[in-house]
Each structure stands twice: as structure tokens, then as C-alpha cells.
């Protein structure tokens, strides 16, 4: 559990990060909180010669809350939990962040690292898909935006180029009807299944619904059909069961030590039912 030797860089300008990435290509990686990357290095599953620490880059920090919410990539999960404006504007973030690991991990682990990592076990990617977030990426050729729903290609494969930095995450201020429901084996474990749900209502009926699932495929699963199944309903059993059925058709879990596929599907259905019920109660 000892990583191989590497050079450590700690630039204070974004341009310097990009220059280092361009210079060293895939022998270099940025490190944010290090709580996904460093374990991989210790297991020698990630080998790299240059580690570029992002913590001194001021542009990657900060939370702005307006009609659009903008969160700097280097914002820690702990900051998501404690930011008062965010708690009011998008409480689902804190509800999800609280279910990530433990305080020690959350003090260091960042939102940017969590979404850039590409591990299907991470909670924030699914949540960001649920919120229809956009990821701002800066590279040698400038800045572009990619929708969270288009970002994930396969486990650890994303639309981000190797020499691009995730700068910020933005999403429209969500409505009140939210829930993040996660089942895990213990503190510090990734999800057996998790569901992110945002609902909006008009005339006591669902007017808009967004549903995303975590750790049930090699990428987060935003299930458009599951959301659509709820629209126009009052979240009664037939609509919820239709949403669950639609979600089950979109996920593709694999067996691991959390359990067999059938179990994961069962849990996925259960957490989704619970999340919908809670989100609906908060609309």
C-alpha cells in the first residue's frame, strides 16, 4: 500500500496546470482531495509520474447561489454540507453529501474530484444528472461546457480530455421537491443503490420530474422514462410503479460483494420508491 514515486507540483495558476498537463500528457494527473486518486496510487492501480495539486488555484473555489448555482470544482463535500445559501437553494446537495463516506473524507474530497473521477460508485455524478448540471472544462484550446447527462461514457471514462480541467459545476436552482436516498452497507461504503429525485408540482400534480440512479451501471443512470412516468400524476402507486419499472429497464447492475444483481434491482426499486415519496412530501 505504498505508491510508486512521483513528482509533486503545486501551481497557483490554472494556465500552469494546463501547461503541465500538456507537457506530461498521460503521465500527469491532477489531484484534488486525493480521496479517490491516492488510494488507487497506493494500490498501484494508478501509476503516474507527475501529480499536480489543484488546491492553490483560486478560480476553482467558491459557491455562487442565484437563479443558477455555480460551484467551484475544488469545493469540498464538507463545504457543500455547511454552506447556508446552498442548504436553502439546493438542499439535495447536503442530503447527498452527508451520505458520502465520513467527515474525514468529506473535509478533503471535492465535488469536482467526485464528478471528474468517473467511478460509478460516486454519488455526485448521478445527482448532477438529476439536477441537469453542466460541467465547465478548461483546456489548452479554451473553455467549453458539457452536460452532466452527456459526460459519462464508461467506468472512469468521461468526455473530459486528459489535458482539460474541470473548473466549475453549474445548474439551475432546483425546486423544493427533492430526495437523495442511498442504501449502503456501512459508513464509508459506496452505494448498493442510490436514487436522486427532484419533483416539481402544479395543481397537486407532478409537472416535472428528474430521476438519476447511482452505482447500478458502469455510469450514472439518468432515467428520462422514469421521470416521465411521474409527470401528470400525484405520485400514486401506479405512477410510482411505472417509474420504478422504467428505471429498472435503464439500469444494469453487476454482482459484487454488496450482493447479486436481483438484490440490487430490488434495492434500486425500494430506494426509488422512498425517494419519490420523500420528494413528493417536500414539493
Amino acid at each position: 500500500m505504498i505508491p510508486a514515486a512521483f513528482e509533486y507540483h503545486r501551481p497557483s495558476e490554472l494556465s500552469a496546470v494546463i501547461a503541465l498537463l500538456s507537457e506530461h500528457g498521460d503521465e500527469a494527473r491532477v489531484v484534488a482531495g486525493g480521496h479517490s486518486l491516492i488510494p488507487m496510487m497506493k494500490l498501484r492501480m494508478a501509476a503516474l509520474d507527475h501529480l499536480i495539486d489543484l488546491r492553490d488555484i483560486a478560480e476553482l473555489r467558491g459557491i455562487e447561489v442565484g437563479a443558477t448555482i455555480r460551484i467551484g470544482a475544488m469545493t469540498t463535500q464538507h463545504e457543500l454540507l455547511t454552506h447556508a445559501g446552498l442548504a436553502e437553494a439546493a438542499p439535495i446537495l447536503a442530503e447527498a453529501a452527508r451520505q458520502i463516506a465520513d467527515p474525514q473524507v468529506r473535509y478533503l474530497g471535492t465535488l469536482g474530484g467526485n464528478v471528474a473521477n468517473g467511478d460509478p460508485g460516486n454519488d455526485m455524478p448521478g445527482l448532477m444528472q438529476c439536477l441537469d448540471a453542466r460541467f465547465t472544462l478548461t483546456g489548452p484550446d479554451g473553455t467549453r461546457e458539457v452536460a452532466a447527462r452527456d459526460f459519462y461514457e464508461a467506468a472512469y471514462m468521461t468526455a473530459r480530455e486528459d489535458d482539460e480541467i474541470l473548473v466549475a459545476i453549474t445548474f439551475p436552482r432546483p425546486g423544493a421537491g427533492h430526495a437523495y436516498e442511498k442504501q449502503k452497507r456501512k459508513i464509508g461504503d459506496y452505494a448498493t443503490a442510490a436514487a436522486a429525485v427532484q419533483l416539481e408540482a402544479a395543481d397537486s400534480k407532478v409537472s416535472a420530474a428528474s430521476i438519476a440512479m447511482t452505482n447500478l451501471s458502469d455510469v450514472p443512470v439518468w432515467s428520462a422514462a422514469a421521470g416521465a412516468a411521474l409527470v401528470g400524476s400525484a405520485c400514486g402507486t401506479p405512477a410510482v410503479e411505472a417509474a420504478v419499472a422504467a428505471m429498472l429497464a435503464d439500469i444494469d447492475p453487476v454482482e459484487d460483494s454488496r450482493g447479486p444483481v436481483e438484490f440490487k434491482k430490488h434495492v434500486a426499486a425500494t430506494v426509488l420508491r422512498r425517494a419519490i415519496a420523500r420528494a413528493w412530501s417536500r414539493v
Binding site: 510508486a4 442504501q183 452497507r185 459508513i187 464509508g188 460483494s257 450482493g259 447479486p260 430490488h266 425500494t270
Partner: protein
């Protein structure tokens, strides 16, 4: 001078902080401040680091090992392989169980993670890099991880070194992967009881493979001083004296030239009893290089290679009359020992004390047969916070009782009470050969049932089942009962030894001139708080306040020889030695007091902290005064000084017991659970320190909780360990850990000098059946008889699924 009222006897007693005092643990000041001194804190000049190249395969032939690239790396000093150890005769080593074990792969590997080569380098980082550079060519062989498949006629031969050997250390081997069949009791009698019985409950109960997982992993520092020829070995040893003897026998270094030191140990739980290749390789590397060599496992090394626990497939049959009187028990165990039989048991007991499996019950006839089997898994088979295989035994009988109750249609609490050994039957001779020293099970049981309002719980459970069936709730309620009997304090030298060393233990006391003292024992604390509790025994016995007594253990150059700490033996054996040594001190003190008070010895009586003249309590000498006199006065016919040593060979084991009840909520859909209540009544005889007891019970219950609800060492069919990190191996945090209510009764051991029985392991022994029975009980109304541990979420879900509870 006498205008102050002299302290009362109660005040003098309290000042000692002796038996019964909830004295704060003296160790905690350093542990809570990060000031402990563990093996990895040992840093010596010019120290090197060792690390292992380990097998990625469960079973493979080692075709070649090429260390040239590793040796070319700057900072690498040596790479040892079996070929290097062979001339020393150290490429294999004897195990505690009468088998032998490869130190480094000799031609083949038999489990994933097996030690193949030992890299020695200037620092840990270089060592880790070098490990990657050693090229090993393997040819994979068929893997067997299932002990039943291992015994099939054409199963692959695992131990080629034993081929053709039909006799092992424990009798006949009937198959190439068979280790022994060990039998106890009356086979024919048990069969007869079963065939004549009104009711027989029969079940296969699996106690899965798990791991003690101490927070501090195993490690050592070996330092060979070539000038004076002395080897010093610091290590995470639960039995430092035995390690010294073994090291001497293996290495040929005279025993007086070896000093073994167990510094602070961060938990052992049986994991640190055995001798591991890392120790042998570090010693050899230090001898070869002339420099100190440190080896410390990382978490994956620890979980995957050093001693596992359990892995017992237990086929039980229990017979009873139709009104619930048990008439017989028969058990056959298929014991998966892994690649080498390295179980840590007393030599004559290859299945440990598993034959305590008649439990708390008066069972007239019983039989146990245990087949030990080789598989492609790591060796071990240690007593993970239990006396040897006692947890397995307690789990078996407490499951069988539940299953029998179901079959009889009888309440399981009532069935237990009906069959308990009665108070007046002690000392009780069990059908499998034990003499239970003492007990009062009915009193404890009634107290426990009352404390949890057992009848109320059963009524609530019945209502819950109705509500569940009506679809009003998805949660089930389980009431997990357990009444366990422990057997600890190994043990009488006449039948218990480890590698020929009798399982006595020892204490040596020196009283200083000013009346304080140091005592050294043959045991070694790994967190149990010996420095606190042993001082309390001595305080009550010698009248010297516990705060004025230093306790030292773990240095073989200073401590008297002892067999170490495991199997809850420290208090029963070394604690008894402490009391006996203290009594020798007191006997001499009495002679000195008689001289000082100018009376006959027989005219004196012991009074808390002094000898007083009978009938004239104002005439006395305190132990402090006596100690001074021992060093100051020229007393005729009495040697100066005040010291004593005792080597204690216990006449019998001690038999702590307890009544545990767990109330658990189970979500039939997600498999999640919540422990609503856990009541633990322990009877460990005389209670030395109630706070330490409570801490031990909390810790042991938490391990029991982990084991029953999620912790396991699981292998896939290729022999890969699936749970080699703490992500998958369940160690509860404060978040998962339930709340516990502790309680007690006190039935002193009749043969122990202070009546103490030991408690450290009871909660693991009794906790596992209580948690597991709660899970089973939740599903009882739906017909469940047995579902194997660990009861993690998916397995509970699967149980519900198989019972058709998901609609």
C-alpha cells in the same frame, strides 16, 4: 498525633483501589494521547525494511523467480527465496498444530497472498518498488476452496509434501487433503439416543471464515548484534516467551541469547499468537545483513495472509423427548484449515475446546467428530476473541436449541431453562469430558428475561407478524436469545501445552523499601488493561494501593516465563499466579510483622493493608512499614528483601457464562437491520474492575456484531480473496455499533484463588449467537430454520426472497 480519627476499614479498603473498584485504566493516558509504543514505533539506527512478494494465485507451481531487476534497484539489499532459506532448514517451519508450513514458496503456492520472496531494502518505499520488480513465473493449478470438494476422490493434491503420509500429528489421514479426524464422546450412545428420541432436530450450521483484524497489523523488528551474539526481537506477539523458545529451536541460537519484546500491542484477538513467515524472514535477514530489519504488514497482507478464524461446517443433530428434555447431541464438523494446519490450539486439541458444544445444557450423551481439511486458502484457525473454537461450539448449540424449539413448537427461552445444568449439579461433568467448575444459569436467565420484558417482546412480535401479513409494515422483529458457557483459562499443564510448553502462567513481585511494588507477569496485554486490573488483584492481596504498583509484561529478559495472553487465560491463570505470589509476600510479611510487634505469627490477623494483633487492633504494622523493615532490619532467620514468584498451574479451566438478548428490526425489502436493544448479562465470577469488564463486553459484542452481520473472508472459486480491504471487510464504526446494556451475576470460581473466571471473550462467544438468532427469529413465523452468516443485507434479502416475502 492521634487527634485525627484513623481511617475506617472501608476507607482503607477504598484507598487500595483493589478488587471491585472501577479504577480508570492506567494505560489510557498514553493510548489516548498517541503516546503508545508499538512495534512500528521501534526505530533503530541503520534499520532495513522487509516486504513480501506474494502469490496472486490460489494454487500454482512456481517455475522460476528472477530477482535481478529488483536487486539492481538502488537501496535493495537482498531478496530472499526458499532456496536461500533451505540451507538453514528454514524454508519450512513447524506450525502450532503439528503440521509444517512454507516460510517462502517452495516449488508451489497454495493460497493467494502466500509469501514467495522477501525483499530487504533501505526503506519501505524502495522495498515496495522492488517487490514489483521481482519476476515470478507461475503455472496455475486447479484451485479448491470448498472443503467438501477438497475431500472428493479426484480432488487436486494440495500438499505434495505430505503425499503418501497416511498418518498426521492427530492420527490417520484418509485422503490426500485430509488432516485429521478428531473424535470425542460416545458415538454409539449418541446414535442410540437419536434413534430412540421423540424428536430430532438436524441442521447444517456454517460458521463462516472471518479474521480478527486487529487495528495494528502484525509485524516485528529483528536485530542481531553480531558482537555479543544476541538477537533482540520486538514483535506483535501474544505469547512472547513461547516465541523465544520457538525462535531458539528453529534458529539454533541459544535461548539466553534471544530477547523477545512485545511492546504495546494494538489488539490481537488471536491473530498474534502464531509464528509467521515475516518473523522468520526478518530474523534471517538481520543475521545475514547484520542490520536490524523491520517487517510490518499492511491491511491487505493482514486480512489475506495472517491467521483467519472459524470456517467450520457443523452438522448437528439434537434429540429430545416430546416435552423438550434433551436426550442427546451428535455433531460432525468439516473444518476448513486452509493450506497448512496452523491452528493455534493446545497440542492435544486439534479442534480446540469445540467439545464444550453441549453448552449450558445437561445433555446425557454426546459425540463430536471433526474432520480437518486442506484447501487453497490462507492458514490460521485462531481463536478470534474466544477460547479455542468455543465460539463455534456456542454458535452450534445455540442454533440447535433454537431449531429444536421450533420443531417442538416450544418457546426457546423455556426450552433452555428446562435443560440448563442446575445450580446443585456443579461441579458438573459434561458428556464430552469437561468438569464445569460452577454456575447458576437459571438465576441469570430469569434476570435477563425479566430485564427485557421477554413476554412483552413476544407479544409485540406476534402482533408484528400479523401486521406484516396484512401489509401494514415491511419490518420484522427478531428476538435473539443466547445462554452461553465459556471455557477459558487454559489450562492444566497435565493436558494443555503449546509446542510442549505447559500452559501455566507466572507472576513475580518485588516490594520496594518504601512500600511500592513492581510485578511482572508471563502474559501480555493487547488492550485488555492488565496494568490496571493485575495491580488491583495485588492491591487487595498485599495491601499496597494499586496506584503504587507497576505492572510489566512482554520482555522475556525480565518477565517470568508464561504462555501469554489469548483464550481469556490471563486472569484465570496469570491473575491466579499474581494472587498466589502476593500470598507468599504476605506470609513473609506476617513473619516480619510478628518480629516487629514481638508477638507470635499466629497472634496476627490480616486487616486490609496491615497485620494487627488479634483482639488489639491498635497494635499493627502496615505493609509499608513491613516493607521498610524487610530492607532495613536485621531480622533473625529471615532473609532481607520482600519478593516472591509464583508459577501457577490451574487445577481446572474456568467456566464463565452469560445470558444475552438481542432485539432486532429487519427490513424485509432492503435487508437492512437495526439493533433496538442488546442486553448482556455476564457472570465472570469475581469482578475485578467493573469498568474494564464493561469495556471488554462492549468491545467483544461489537466484534460479535461485525462477525454475525457482515464480516467475512470470502474467496471466489479461483481462490481470490474478495474481502481483502476494509471497504469490503466489515469493521463497524461508532455509527453502526449498537447500544448495549450490561448486567451481571457473580458466581465465583471455586478453584481460582480470587474466584475470577475471565470475561474478555465471553461477549464474542455469546454475542454471535444472540445476533444471529435474532435474524433467524425474525423469520421464524415464516418457516426459516437456518440461513448462514454473515447476515449482511443481501443475504437477509435473499432469506426474505426465498420465503416468498417479496410478494
Amino acid at each position: 498525633m492521634n487527634d485525627q480519627t484513623p481511617p475506617t476499614r472501608e476507607e482503607r479498603t477504598a484507598a487500595l483501589k483493589g478488587l471491585g473498584c472501577a479504577r480508570k485504566r492506567v494505560e489510557d493516558a498514553r493510548f489516548t494521547q498517541g503516546k503508545g509504543n508499538y512495534v512500528d514505533d521501534v526505530k533503530l539506527p541503520a534499520m532495513l525494511f522487509g516486504d513480501f512478494v506474494r502469490s496472486p494465485y490460489g494454487h500454482a507451481r512456481v517455475k522460476s523467480i528472477d530477482a535481478s531487476a529488483a536487486l539492481a534497484l538502488p537501496g535493495v539489499i537482498a531478496v530472499l527465496t526458499a532456496k536461500d532459506l533451505e540451507p538453514l532448514g528454514l524454508h519450512w517451519m513447524p506450525t502450532l498444530a503439528g503440521d509444517k508450513q512454507m516460510v517462502l514458496a517452495d516449488g508451489k503456492v497454495l493460497f493467494q497472498g502466500q509469501e514467495v520472496a522477501f525483499v530487504v531494502a533501505e526503506d519501505r518505499y524502495v522495498a515496495a518498488d522492488a517487490v514489483e520488480l521481482v519476476e515470478v513465473e507461475y503455472e496455475d493449478l486447479p484451485v479448491v476452496t470448498d472443503p467438501f470438494k477438497a475431500l472428493e476422490p479426484n480432488a487436486p493434491v494440495l500438499r505434495e509434501d505430505l503425499q503418501g503420509q497416511t498418518e498426521g500429528a492427530h492420527g490417520l489421514r484418509r485422503h490426500h487433503n485430509h488432516i485429521f479426524l478428531w473424535e470425542q464422546g460416545d458415538k454409539d450412545g449418541a446414535e442410540a439416543a437419536i434413534s430412540e428420541a421423540d424428536v430430532v432436530a438436524e441442521e447444517r450450521v456454517y460458521y463462516h471464515r472471518t479474521h480478527p483484524c486487529p487495528l495494528e497489523t502484525c509485524g516485528c523488528v529483528a536485530s542481531m548484534d553480531k558482537v555479543n551474539g544476541k538477537l533482540t526481537l520486538w514483535g506483535t506477539f501474544q505469547a512472547p516467551h513461547v516465541v523465544r523458545t520457538v525462535a531458539s529451536l528453529l534458529s539454533g541460537i541459544a535461548e539466553h541469547n534471544i530477547r523477545v519484546i512485545s511492546p504495546d500491542i494494538g489488539g490481537g484477538f488471536g491473530n498474534k499468537v502464531g509464528v509467521y513467515p515475516g518473523y522468520v524472514c526478518s530474523i534471517v535477514a538481520s543475521i545475514v545483513t547484520g542490520r536490524p530489519v523491520k517487517w510490518v504488514e499492511d491491511r491487505m497482507d493482514n486480512l489475506m495472509t495472517t491467521a483467519f478464524a472459524r470456517d467450520y461446517w457443523m452438522d448437528g443433530r439434537i434429540a429430545a423427548t416430546k416435552d423438550g428434555k434433551i436426550t442427546g447431541l451428535s455433531v460432525h464438523v468439516t473444518a476448513d484449515h486452509g493450506a497448512f494446519d496452523a491452528c493455534a490450539d493446545p497440542t492435544k486439541f486439534p479442534a480446540g475446546f469445540f467439545h464444550i458444544c453441549t453448552g449450558s445444557y445437561d445433555i446425557p450423551v454426546a459425540y463430536v467428530g471433526v474432520d480437518g481439511v486442506y484447501t487453497n486458502k490462507a492458514p490460521g484457525g485462531v481463536a478470534y476473541r474466544c477460547s479455542f473454537r468455543v465460539t463455534e461450539a456456542a454458535y452450534l448449540i445455540e442454533r440447535m436449541i433454537e431449531i429444536l424449539a421450533q420443531k417442538l413448537g416450544m418457546d426457546a427461552a423455556e426450552l433452555r431453562a428446562k435443560n440448563f445444568i442446575r445450580k446443585e449439579q456443579f461441579p458438573y461433568h459434561s458428556a464430552l469430558g469437561w468438569e464445569y467448575d460452577s454456575g447458576d444459569y437459571h438465576t441469570a436467565w430469569d434476570k435477563a428475561l425479566k430485564a427485557v420484558d421477554y413476554d412483552g417482546l413476544r407479544a409485540e412480535q406476534a402482533e408484528r407478524v400479523v401486521a406484516f401479513r396484512r401489509g401494514e409494515t415491511r419490518k420484522l422483529l427478531g428476538i435473539g436469545l443466547c445462554h452461553f458457557t465459556e471455557i477459558v483459562g487454559a489450562g492444566p499443564v497435565k493436558n494443555c501445552d503449546i509446542l510442549g510448553m505447559g500452559m501455566f502462567d507466572s507472576c513475580e513481585i518485588r516490594i520496594h523499601p518504601t512500600g511500592s511494588a513492581i510485578a511482572r507477569l508471563g502474559t501480555i496485554s493487547q488492550g485488555q488493561g492488565h496494568a490496571t486490573t493485575f495491580a488491583q488483584i495485588l492491591a487487595s492481596e498485599t495491601g499496597i494501593p494499586a496506584d503504587n504498583i507497576t505492572i510489566e509484561e512482554g520482555d522475556t529478559d525480565t518477565a517470568p516465563y508464561g504462555l501469554g495472553t489469548y483464550g481469556s487465560r490471563s486472569t484465570p491463570v496469570a491473575g491466579a499466579a499474581a494472587a498466589m505470589a502476593a500470598r507468599k509476600i504476605r506470609a513473609k510479611a506476617q513473619m516480619i510483622a510478628a518480629y516487629l510487634l514481638e508477638v507470635h505469627e499466629g497472634d496476627l490477623e490480616w486487616d486490609v493493608d496491615r497485620f494487627a494483633v488479634k483482639g488489639a487492633p491498635e497494635r499493627f504494622k502496615t505493609m509499608t512499614e513491613i516493607a521498610y523493615a524487610a530492607y532495613h532490619d536485621a531480622i533473625p532467620n529471615i532473609e532481607p528483601g520482600l519478593e516472591a514468584v509464583s508459577y501457577y498451574d490451574p487445577p481446572n479451566m474456568t467456566y464463565p457464562f452469560g445470558a444475552y438478548i438481542c432485539v432486532m428490526e429487519i427490513d424485509a425489502d432492503t435487508g437492512e437491520h437495526e439493533i433496538r436493544q442488546f442486553y448482556a448479562l455476564d457472570d465472570c465470577g469475581t469482578r475485578i474492575n467493573p469498568m474494564v469488564i464493561e469495556g471488554q463486553v462492549h468491545g467483544g459484542l461489537t466484534e460479535a456484531y461485525a462477525i454475525s452481520m457482515g464480516q467475512e473472508i470470502a474467496y471466489d472459486e479461483m481462490g481470490n480473496v474478495k474481502t481483502g480491504t476494509l471497504m469490503d471487510f466489515f469493521l463497524p464504526t461508532s455509527w453502526e455499533t449498537p447500544h448495549y446494556t450490561t448486567d451481571f451475576t457473580e458466581t465465583p470460581s471455586p478453584h481460582h484463588p480470587i474466584g475470577a473466571k475471565g470475561v474478555g471473550e465471553s461477549p464474542n462467544v455469546g454475542g454471535v449467537p444472540a445476533f444471529s438468532n435474532a435474524v433467524h427469529d425474525a423469520f421464524r413465523a415464516f418457516g426459516l430454520t437456518q440461513s448462514h452468516m454473515p447476515h449482511d443485507q443481501w443475504r437477509i434479502w435473499k432469506t426474505a426472497q426465498d420465503l416468498g416475502l417479496h410478494g
